[in-house]
């Protein structure tokens, strides 16, 4: 972006110096060379033809157990109650919750697995609806992360750093690719009601951090008023609102001329977006006109605003309106105890609606260029946390391996990638680090993750920090 142009040739000291050091001609020239100001974004993105134009990220917060859902390990059944061999665990540090356990007995529930679809994908009977869309799924069983606790792990997969204060995935994409629909935010966040709540979710997970603040995820709440303070207060009509915004924009621009703070531009953009959203949001979110078969497909829960199923339906409606990045969060997977009973409830929450979303996108032709991702922040261990009985056990955090799935634009269908050992403890084939996973999704969106950077406090930042390789084997 040409800073000279942006500030109407008012330059501050640092910009002036860096501009003159790099050659005055270069700045003028760069404005001629950097693409076209009439295209959707000014970052010169994508780098190459994208496979995916939109993303739906069904985030399963709390870490679903891969061993009960996707990663079939008959060995655990065979060795039920026996000690996890020390050679498998190796030097692995376990969380404080099981570090003091005297024994690590291998745990296995009474769930059966089967292979589904042409790709013979392993799925447990906790996911009967997933079984019916197995031909669309690309299951990656070898994702691994660096953090062992929820907050750093969620922050890591969302922002590429455990420490936070970095932009969320959706913010990067919003900043990089912009929005096609001018009346809806590029990055929408849907929190869903769960049957159980464990780990909290913070707004920092969909924060823009150092990116301009219009790229912050816009949170849609469950209920009648999905976006707080979007509606005009009583007594304020459209004309008054418009006049007020015009005057406000004028004031902001005046201030901008004196303080040159880019955040003011963001503020102007956000006010304008909110104004346009006043009509677009109720139209888009209105599910009252959806026919009955929709609720048969997504499940009866979809009629209840704020449920996972209702949010999957909303995600489809947002994507239909060309929203770039929809992120859904579902809490409650952190099953340290009572796992066999609790995981049934959670699986029931998400199974049908997740699968329905895929089919619904498919019949509308949207699955061709929309990528759907389902997964949590890490996996769960193969040994029991707490007392192990045939009917009850718990599983502790396990960052060394876990399963996610993707479906849609540009990824292989009916495909399984990566392998873990017989205990589901270590990856033995094709590991996918969180940064690899992020790089791959960026690649599907036509972005070279190494070239997509933002300079902040003297350093160029990127979502994948200094790592990440595109997992080409799962791409079509």
């Amino acid at each position: 972006m040409n800073i000279f142009e942006e500030y109407n040739s008012k330059v501050n000291r640092r910009e002036f110096l860096s501009g003159s050091v790099l050659g005055l001609g270069a700045t003028a020239l760069s404005s001629l060379l950097t693409g076209n100001e009439f295209l959707t974004n000014d970052n010169n993105l994508p780098h190459f033809p994208p496979k995916a134009k939109r993303v739906i990220y069904l985030f399963q917060s709390g870490a679903p157990s891969q061993l009960e859902l996707f990663d079939y390990k008959p060995k655990l059944k065979e060795m039920f109650g026996q000690e996890l061999p020390a050679s498998i665990r190796g030097e692995q540090r376990v969380s404080g919750m099981t570090a003091n356990q005297r024994s690590f007995p291998l745990a296995y529930g009474k769930f059966t697995f089967g292979q589904y679809g042409q790709g013979r994908i392993w799925l447990s009977d906790l996911l009967p609806y997933h079984q019916q869309i197995a031909d669309e799924l690309c299951v990656v069983k070898s994702v691994h992360t660096e953090a062992i606790n929820h907050d750093p792990a969620v922050t890591f997969i969302q922002t590429g750093s455990q420490q936070g204060a970095r932009p969320s995935f959706g913010s990067w994409i919003s900043y990089g690719l912009g929005s096609e629909n001018k009346n809806l935010p590029a990055f929408c966040v849907l929190l869903s009601r769960s049957t159980s709540y464990d780990q909290p979710l913070y707004a920092k997970l969909w924060n823009n951090a150092f990116l301009p603040s219009e790229h912050q995820g816009v949170l849609f709440r469950s209920g009648d008023d999905p976006i707080l303070y979007l509606n005009d207060p009583p007594g304020v009509d459209k004309v008054t609102r418009r006049d007020m915004l015009d005057v406000l924009a004028k004031l902001h621009k005046q201030q901008l001329e004196t303080v040159l703070d880019d955040e003011l531009n963001s503020r102007i953009a956000q006010y304008e977006m909110a104004y346009r959203m006043q009509t677009a949001v109720p139209d888009t979110l209105d599910v009252s006109k959806e026919p009955d078969w929709v609720f048969d497909l997504y499940g009866p829960q979809a009629r209840k605003p704020g449920t996972y199923a209702a949010n999957c339906l909303l995600a489809r409606k947002l994507i239909e309106n060309d929203v770039r990045f929809v992120q859904l969060y579902h809490q409650g997977w952190d099953q340290h105890g009572n796992l066999p009973t609790d995981i049934k409830k959670l699986a029931k929450d998400v199974d049908q609606a997740s699968a329905a979303l895929i089919l619904d996108l498919k019949q509308r032709g949207l699955l061709e260029d929309t990528l759907v991702i389902w997964g949590g922040e890490f996996g769960r261990g193969c040994y029991s946390q707490g007392k192990l009985t045939p009917d009850n056990y718990g599983r502790d955090h396990h960052p060394r391996c876990y399963s996610i799935w993707m479906a849609g634009a540009g990824v292989k269908k009916g495909f399984t990638y990566g392998e873990t050992d017989d205990f589901g403890y270590n990856i033995i084939k094709d590991p996918v680090h969180v940064h690899d996973y992020q790089a791959t999704i960026m690649h599907l969106l036509g972005i070279d993750h190494e070239r997509f950077t933002f300079k902040f406090q003297g350093r160029r930042y990127r979502l994948t920090d200094v790592a990440g390789h595109v997992v080409k084997d799962i791409l079509l």
Binding site: L29, F38, Y129, W293, A355, A356, L359, K362, G365, K472
Partner: protein, 511 residues
């Protein structure tokens, strides 16, 4: 282009300043000694400016080296001699006492650095060209070929004597492999694919190894350059993982690519070929003309993604081959005026990435659709590959305006007002791959127009008036077409066993 890249390009210009200034400073030192006059101030100034310019040249050179267009080893030599020269020149300015020693070394290093720089620009054999032998021929100049031996079948003196004007038959011996292919491989490929290094399990240094191929199988298909990855990998975009030689290594010139193409096309012979040719009157018999290739006109190499998907470098069927093919054919850039006009009308235009002038048009923001908007779009008809008209009241006649969009690959017409009559206007779109008609009034009759779009791959017909018979007929006419009828419903888990059920869209009561 990045500003740093631009600065890099100035290196060859800036670099001559320190060369001149420092040499002149040295000349002045000699002059001072001979004439015994005091010009220390001037020499000091010259050394100062020389050192300063050297630093500038180093900086620019650094940026230029980042382009990766040069041989890394040679760059390193040039870089370090250059930096050493700069350091010595700066010392010579600062330490007056050792100025003579320092300046003599500066001049020596300067010469060396200059020589390496020259090698980088003009090639290592520019100054002292190697003698041409049969084994190590330099990259042949294809315009004036010297290595072809000729023997006239009739009279060996005939060509030179009085027979001019009469067409004659001659026997021509060519050894394309030895004379053209080997030198190219030697210069551009051996560093990674020979006895010392066998990347991808591939060696290119003998006939047997070339025929054997690498770990991804055979690389040579005589007579068919595009099916030979030894050739097709050269044409992939530089960013592609399978592009050869890899980014940063010296690339093949267009002539060299043409030579490889010619060799494979002619059967990829590893022996000398003897052919009988007829030479027209007056034409020079000595030239074996290798037809020059226009790279843009070559059939497109498959994209890396599709190669990776097949796990084999030889597999070449990409799912969106039509679009990929168009994308790799150059097109002129859309005019800013046209784009501004479209932007004004709320038509969102996005592109396919850097270096591509192709575009996608999305009408999602259009509040008041009118047919004239499609006229505006015509100003970029060659650039547009995808149009999304979803939910707009598009009429049948509007689709006539799309006839000139020859490159159109994706068309979204779902939930528009079109009917069968409209589809007949689409039959002139030769590259159409994906057509979304869901939620329209299309019937079986409309589908009859579709087989004209030979490359159609995916068709969405959910919530249309198409009947199962119509679909069957279309499937017969277009077996490769994937038809998505939609209307999916799940089998309830308690009645599990069957897969998902696909309801025919005519079965409306089920929806």
């Amino acid at each position: 282009m990045l500003p740093t890249e631009l600065i890099g390009r100035f290196h060859p210009l800036i670099v001559h300043l320190p060369i001149g200034i420092l040499l002149f400073a040295f000349a002045m030192m000699v002059f001072q000694r001979i004439r015994k006059i005091d010009i220390d101030v001037v020499i000091g100034f010259a050394l100062f400016s020389g050192a300063l310019c050297s630093i500038a040249a180093c900086v620019a050179g650094w940026f230029l080296a980042q382009s990766g267009e040069y041989d890394a080893a040679l760059v390193a030599k040039h870089q370090w001699t250059g930096i050493a020269t700069t350091a010595l020149a700066a010392l010579a300015f600062a330490l007056k006492r050792f100025r003579w020693v320092l300046m003599v070394s500066t001049v020596i290093l300067l010469t060396l650095a200059g020589h390496y720089g020259g090698n980088l620009t003009h090639g290592e054999d520019y100054l002292f060209p190697k003698k041409k032998t049969a084994q190590s021929v330099n990259i042949p100049n294809l315009d004036s070929l010297q290595t072809v031996e000729l023997a006239s079948t009739t009279d060996s003196t005939a060509t030179n004597s009085g027979n001019e004007g009469v067409p004659q038959t001659v026997e021509r011996k060519t050894f394309i492999y030895r004379d053209y292919v080997v030198p190219i491989l030697e210069n551009k490929c051996y560093s990674c694919h020979s006895a010392t290094k066998m990347k991808g399990g591939l060696r290119l240094d003998t006939e047997a190894f070339i025929k054997k191929g690498g770990k991804n199988g055979s690389i040579l298909s005589p007579g068919n350059p595009n099916a030979s990855s030894i050739f097709s990998c050269l044409l992939l975009p530089p960013d592609d993982d399978n592009h050869m030689p890899p980014k940063g290594k010296p690339q093949l010139s267009e002539q060299e690519i043409a030579a490889l193409h010619f060799w494979i096309k002619k059967g990829a012979a590893f022996q000398e070929q003897i052919e009988t040719i007829t030479i027209g009157a007056g034409s020079s018999p000595t030239a074996l003309a290798i037809p020059s290739l226009k790279l843009a006109e070559l059939p497109k190499a498959p994209s890396a993604d599709s190669l990776a998907a097949k796990g084999s470098i030889n597999a070449s069927v990409s799912r969106s081959s039509q679009e990929a093919g168009i994308l790799s054919t150059p097109v002129e850039v859309a005019t800013p005026a046209a784009l501004a006009q479209l932007q004004q009308n709320n038509i969102i235009i996005s592109d396919f990435g850097q270096g591509s002038n192709y575009l996608m048009a999305n009408f999602v923001n259009v509040k008041k659709y009118r047919a004239t908007l499609l006229d505006d779009l015509k100003s970029i008809n060659n650039q547009v590959l995808r149009i999304r008209l979803s939910n707009q009241p598009v009429q049948d006649d509007d689709l006539k305006k799309l006839a000139s969009f020859k490159n159109l690959t994706w068309l979204n017409l779902e939930k528009t007002s079109i009917s069968d009559a409209g589809l007949s206007h689409l039959q002139n779109l030769p590259n159409l791959e994906q057509l979304n008609l869901y939620g329209t009034n299309i019937t079986d009759r409309g589908l009859l127009a579709l087989p004209k779009c030979a490359h159609l791959k995916t068709l969405y017909l959910w919530q249309t008036k198409v009947s199962p018979t119509g679909v069957e007929q279309l499937k017969k006419a277009m077996p490769q077409l994937q038809i998505v009828m939609g209307g999916f419903q799940f089998v309830k888990p308690d009645s599990m066993g069957a897969g998902k059920k696909e309801l025919p869209s005519g079965n409306k009561q089920a929806l």
